[in-house]
Symmetry: C2
Subunit: 407 residues, 2 copies
C-alpha cells in the first residue's frame, strides 16, 4: 500500500483530550478517530491491526473446538427479564421501537446463546459444546476514558461452553486457559491469571487475565516468584505480605483485564430450562462457562506496552505491515522497485511516497511503528538502510539481503 | 469440517412462521436462527456464507480504490441533528444513556463519515476520496418479514465518495456501477440498474440494483430487449407500454433491491462545513456519493434464486464448502480417507459422518446445498458417486478423477 493513497495521515500534534498513551498515539498515528467518549472509528491501518488480533484469537478458539457463530447486538427485552439482567445490570443499554417494543444492546450474550443452544442440546452426547463469536458489544459506562481500553462500544470475543459435569467444565477451562495464554503470547502480552469475584450472577470465583500497565483500571497483588495473583477487590493481603503459595513478598500493580472466565454453573440453563438426558436417563441441567477476550482493548494494551517517546512499536504478529519503505527525494524510482520487489515476494509492505521532507518521513515511520524501516536514499546508491523499530542501530545492505532477512 | 461436530443440524421440518423461501430453507438447513422479527443469528455454516459474500464485495471495492474503515454503530444525537435526520428519519433507532445522553444506532453513516473526512480534505489534491465499511446497521422497521431480506439488524457494505466536480462523481459512479455488476455476477445474481427516487435528502435520481424475485418488496418495469428499468414508485409507464429507449413492450415484476447509489450533492458537505481549496484557490464544497450493498440481504436473495423443492443450491463462489462427502454405513474408513485426501489437496470439504440413515443423509445434503456431493458406499468399492447439486445425473468415478474434476 502507498501511504500517499491513505486518507488518514499521521499528525504532528497529539490530540488535546488524550489521557492515555494508547489514545494519544493511536489518534496521532491515524489508526483511530474518536467519535465520542468510548466510541471510535477504526481507520484503514487501525482496522488491519484489529483484524490481525481477531484472526489470532479465531485460530486459537477453533483449535480447541470452538464453533464460530454471530449473534445479534439488538436483543429482545424478554430474554433479559428471564435472567433478571434487565433490572440488575446497570450498564445495559435499553431502547424502544416505534411500536413500543423494548430492546437491549448486547453487553454479553448468555441471554441469547442459552436459548439458541437449547434446541441442539438433548442428550449427553450433544455435550460438551463451545460456541463463540467475535462481535461488537455495548456498555452504558458512566465514564469512558483511557482511549480504546474502555469502550461504550467495543470489540470482543465471547465464548460459551456447555458441559455434562463440573469436572468436564474444569477440563475445558484448563484448555481455554492454555489457549488464552497462547493468544496473549502471540500478541506480545504477558498475562497473569488473577482470581477475582464472580460478577453479577455467580458466587463462584472467576479468573481474569491481567496485563500490567499503568493505564489499567484494576489493582492486583502478584508474586514474581510463582503464579499467585489476586485482584485487590477480593484480596485479603497487602503489599509486601508473604505470597500464600511460595512466601515471597507480594507486589501491587495497576493492570488491565484483557480476558476473563466465569464459571456460570447452572444459572442460565435453569433460567431458560435447558436440560439434557444423561447416561442414566435422567434430565440434568448442563454446567456453563463463559470466556471473554477484549479485542479492541487488547489493541490498546499492546500500544500501552509497546511504545517509546517517538511512537508505537507494533509486535510483528499484528503490525499493519511488516516493512515500511521510506522513499527519499531523488531515489523515488529505486524505492518503487524495492517496494514492488517486496510485494512480489509476498512481504506486507507500506511505501512512504508522500511529498514530504526526510525528517517528516522518519518521524511518521517512528509514529506508525512498523517492525522494519527501509530507507532508500540517493546517498546510498543500491544499498538500503535497514533499521528495526525496536533497535537504535541501522545497517546498509543490498536488496538481496533485505529479502533474505524478511523471509 | 465434520458435520457430526457442528451443533446446528438440519431439521426435518420447516419453521412454522416462515413466509419466504429464504427464511424457510436457511432455518431448516441450520444456517440461521431467528432471534426476533428482522434479527437473526448466523450459525457456523451461515456465517461462512456471509463472510464469503463480504470478501467478494471487499475485493471489488478495494479494486476501485475504496479504503476500508470501520465506523461505530452507536452515534451521538448531535451528528443527526446537524443533518436534520434526527427528526426526519422514522426508522432511526434512538436511545438514552444513564446520564441522559441521546444516541442513535447507525442506519447509514453519512453523519459519521462526513465529519471524519473533513479533517483530511483540505485541497483538491485530497480528492477524490472513497471510504467504505462492511458493518451492521439498524432500522426501526414497522414490519420486518421475509427472512433475512429485510432486517431490523442487517449487514451492509456502505461506501462514501468525495469529489471535486460533478463530472468526477459521474466517472466514479460508472466505475462503481461496473464493480457492482461484477460483484453480483460473482454472487450468481443478475442485477438490473433501476432509476428510483432520491431518498430522504436529495431531489436527484438514485439508482437501485434490483434482482427479480417474488420475495422482493419493490415492483419494477423493465425491458427485456435493452437495459431500461424503472421503479414503479416513480414510473410514468404501465405494463405493456413501449420501452422509452427501444420500443419493446415493458414488463412488470417483483424485485429485491440488493444495492443502491445516491448522488448526495453537497448536502452533507454543507451541513458539516467540509470544504476544499480548488486549483484557483477558491473554497468549494465537495460532491458526495453514497453506495450500498446489502450483504445479508444478498444472501437471502441468492437462496430465493437458487433452490428447488429439496433445498438450497449454493453458487460455488459462496458455498460454505465446495464438496460434501456422504459416508454410508460400512464405508466409514474409505469416506474418511476421501475426506482427508480432499483436505490435503486444499479443497473445502464437509464430511457427513453422522450416525444416520442413507436417506436422511441424502436429504441433508440436498437441504444444505453444497455444489458437489460425493457418496462413499460399501456397494461401490473404491469408486465414488459424483453428483452435482444442480444436476440430476450422477457418475461413479475413482478418487484420482474426483481430484482432477475439483481442481
Amino acid at each position: 500500500m502507498k501511504l500517499s493513497k491513505i486518507a488518514f495521515q499521521v499528525s504532528k500534534n497529539a490530540p488535546a483530550n488524550a489521557d492515555t498513551v494508547n489514545h494519544k498515539l493511536l489518534v496521532q498515528a491515524g489508526y483511530v478517530r474518536q467519535l465520542m467518549a468510548g466510541v471510535y472509528t477504526y481507520t484503514t491501518l487501525g482496522l488491519k491491526v484489529l483484524r490481525s488480533i481477531e484472526n489470532i484469537i479465531r485460530e486459537e478458539m477453533n483449535a480447541i473446538g470452538g464453533q464460530e457463530i454471530l449473534m445479534p447486538a439488538l436483543q429482545p427485552k424478554e430474554n433479559w427479564v428471564t435472567t433478571g439482567g434487565w433490572d440488575k445490570i446497570d450498564v445495559l443499554f435499553k431502547l424502544k421501537s416505534r411500536t413500543d417494543k423494548d430492546y437491549a444492546l448486547g453487553q454479553s450474550h448468555e441471554e441469547i446463546v442459552t436459548p439458541l443452544a437449547k434446541e441442539f442440546i438433548n442428550s449427553y452426547k450433544d455435550l460438551p459444546l463451545a460456541l463463540y463469536q467475535i462481535q461488537w458489544k455495548y456498555r452504558d459506562e458512566l465514564r469512558s476514558k483511557s482511549g480504546i481500553l474502555r469502550g461504550r462500544e467495543f470489540f470482543m470475543k465471547d465464548m460459551y461452553s456447555f458441559h455434562e459435569t463440573q469436572e468436564d467444565f474444569e477440563r475445558f477451562y484448563s484448555e481455554t486457559k492454555a489457549a488464552y495464554l497462547r493468544i496473549f503470547k502471540r500478541l506480545g502480552l504477558t498475562a497473569k491469571v488473577t482470581e477475582a469475584s464472580g460478577g453479577s450472577f455467580t458466587e463462584k470465583v472467576s479468573y481474569e487475565f491481567m496485563v500490567l500497565t499503568d493505564a489499567g483500571e484494576d489493582d492486583i497483588f502478584y508474586c514474581d516468584e510463582c503464579d499467585y495473583c489476586i485482584n485487590q477487590e477480593i484480596a485479603k493481603v497487602k503489599e509486601g505480605d508473604k505470597c500464600p503459595k511460595c512466601g515471597s513478598p507480594l507486589k501491587l500493580a495497576r493492570a488491565s483485564e484483557v480476558g476473563n472466565v466465569f464459571d456460570l454453573g447452572q444459572k442460565f440453563a435453569k433460567d431458560f430450562e435447558v436440560t439434557f438426558t444423561n447416561q442414566a436417563g435422567e434430565k440434568k441441567y448442563p454446567i456453563m462457562g463463559c470466556y471473554g477476550i477484549g479485542v479492541s482493548r487488547s489493541m490498546g494494551v499492546i500500544v500501552e506496552k509497546y511504545n517509546d517517546e517517538k511512537g508505537i512499536i507494533w509486535p510483528k504478529s499484528i503490525a499493519p505491515f511488516q516493512v515500511e519503505v521510506v522513499s527519499l527525494s531523488g531515489a523515488e524510482d529505486y524505492a518503487l522497485k524495492v517496494y514492488e520487489t517486496l510485494q512480489k515476494a509476498n512481504i506486507s509492505v507500506l511505501l512512504d511516497d508522500r511529498n514530504q521532507s526526510a525528517g517528516s518521513k522518519f518521524a511518521a515511520a517512528d509514529l506508525l511503528g512498523l517492525p522494519v524501516r527501509l530507507v532508500v536514499s540517493p546517498r546510498n546508491g543500491e544499498k538500503i538502510e535497514w533499521k528495526e523499530r525496536n533497535q537504535s542501530e541501522s545497517e546498509l545492505i543490498d536488496l538481496e539481503t533485505v529479502l533474505t532477512k524478511l523471509k
